[in-house]
Structure formats: structure tokens, C-alpha cells
Symmetry: C2
Subunit: 142 residues, 2 copies
DNA sequence: TATTGTTATACTCTATAACTATA
DNA sequence: TATAGTTATAGAGTATAACAATA
């Protein structure tokens, strides 16, 4: 036997990666969820709050205070949609885009360090397997 | 660019794996933490409650009610240690060992199905990378 | 005095229900 | 009537503090 559950291994490494990101997030004064929200806005500009909540798997009521903070920090804007005044379109400010890019660069550098022991071939295999295992989206619980 | 964060990928797959385990856990009437505790007891027989809590990264105060339930279900025993009567040694009953083995077999079968699309070479590479990324233990937050 | 197991309490995170303003 | 955003509230999960028994 001696076979460890896959979920246990993935959970442990996920915790390690999150722990490694924590000081980087703190350095850029962002929480994990704020970083995730900015990341989605960087890729998909200007959607509604509801669309953003569903896209990142975050509760729409919790998103409110998250966006309040990001707006106060000048990282996003919330513009009422002229065609439907119930809707508020969320978009990155230049400062928000910059903050996200800087943090992401730090995170990628950290990941590269962690993966420096792994051969190129194994790294490519890892990405193939991760892609193969990724099927459907499951709501997040950080 | 177009590079997704490693932590995001691992977190997503971890959620998927946990979601896939959920019906199996329910079928054997165990929670994730109960399964983890039984798993450690199956490997490391008869330690103290505190040692178990630290080994699986679970709060010692939460472990109490967890063990209460497992004991009521007849899956573990809690024997006061004769040499130090503060300590209570936790051990699996035959029924507990059997329950854990049955659930673990189901989980491994589920994992094999998920990995059936992955080549043997990539699977071996995956295990090498998982082992390389696993460094130190980080407290769990399921 | 320190430690194991335990209970009670507080805190954090998350989800549900209810409200407003628009449609 | 239904929907986007918001607020207030309740619930789970988790951690902290305090206690009894033993060392």
C-alpha cells in the first residue's frame, strides 16, 4: 500500500503555495480574494458585479465590501450602466492594473523558485496533468 | 502572458477532488476530518490525542468532539494511559480499520478513474513533482 | 509549576433573508 | 413581477481562554 490520497497531496501543496503567497500579498497590501478579483478584471474588462462574483466563485454579498475597499484604494471604478441603471460596471484603474501586474510578477517569480528543482520535462508533464484534471468549476472556499 | 497562477490551479483541482470524495465519504458515513484522523491512526497506532491533533494539523479542542463521535460509532477506543493518567491513548477498533480501508479503496478507485486519461509517464512525473513541491507541513484549513 | 484533556466563549468566514432602486 | 446591488442577520467553522485532573 503506502499510497497517499491525491486530494491530501494537492491540499497540502495548495496550502504551501497560499502560505508562500501570503507575504507577497501583504507586501502589495492585497488579500487573496482582492488579488483574484483584480486578476479577473485584468482579463475580462468591465462586467457587472454579479458577473464578476459568479466568474470568480465568490458570494455576491461579500463582493460588495471587497469592491468598496478596492474602490477606496483607487484600484477599480464602479460606473452605473447608462442603458440599465440598476447595473454597475466594474473596471480596473491604471493603478489597479499596475498593482495586479506587480503582485503577479512576484508570485510567478516565487513559483519559478519553487519549481527550480523540477526538470523542464516534468514541468511540462505537470501542466499537461493539471489541464487534464481540470474539468468543471467548483465554487471556491478559500 | 496567459499564465495562470500555480496556486489557483492547485486550489481548483483540490476543490474538485474534495467534491469527488464527498459522495464517497457520505456513503461510508464519515466526514473528511474523521477520514483523515482514521487514516493517521491506521498508520500510526495508539498515540495521545494531542499527538494526533498535531500530526493531522487539527485543533486539539475540535478533536475532542470528533473523537467523541468516532468512539460512539465504535470506530476508535480511548484508553487512559496507566503510566500517565492524564493521557488517553487513541486506537482504531477492527471496525474502524475496516471502515477506513473500505473508504480509502473507493477513493483510490475514483482517483484512478480521474487519472485514466493521463499517460503512465505523465503520472510518474506528477508524483515526482508533487514529492518535490512537498516541503514542510502547513496547518490545514479544510 | 507545567501538561493532557476538556468545556465555554469569542471570532472569522460564509451564506441566507430582507430591502432599494430600477426594469 | 423580476433583477442588480446593498444591508443586516444568522450560521458554520475555527481559534482563544479558562478549568479539572494529573504530573
Amino acid at each position: 500500500m503506502e499510497r497517499e490520497d491525491l486530494a491530501a497531496q494537492f491540499a497540502r501543496i495548495t496550502r504551501q503555495l497560499i502560505a508562500a503567497e501570503r507575504p507577497l500579498l501583504a507586501r502589495h497590501d492585497l488579500t487573496m480574494w482582492e488579488y483574484i478579483a483584480l486578476g479577473h478584471l485584468a482579463a475580462e474588462p468591465a462586467g457587472t458585479q454579479l458577473a464578476l462574483a459568479q466568474a470568480i466563485g465568490y458570494d455576491k454579498t461579500r463582493l460588495i465590501t471587497l469592491l468598496d475597499g478596492l474602490q477606496r484604494a483607487g484600484l477599480i471604478t464602479r460606473q452605473p450602466d447608462p442603458s440599465d441603471r440598476r447595473v454597475r460596471n466594474v473596471a480596473l484603474t491604471p493603478s489597479g492594473r499596475e498593482r495586479h501586474a506587480a503582485l503577479q510578477a512576484d508570485i510567478h517569480a516565487m513559483e519559478d523558485t519553487l519549481l527550480s528543482k523540477v526538470s523542464d520535462a516534468d514541468r511540462r508533464a505537470l501542466h499537461r496533468v493539471l489541464a487534464a484534471l481540470t474539468t468543471t468549476a467548483v465554487p471556491a472556499r478559500l
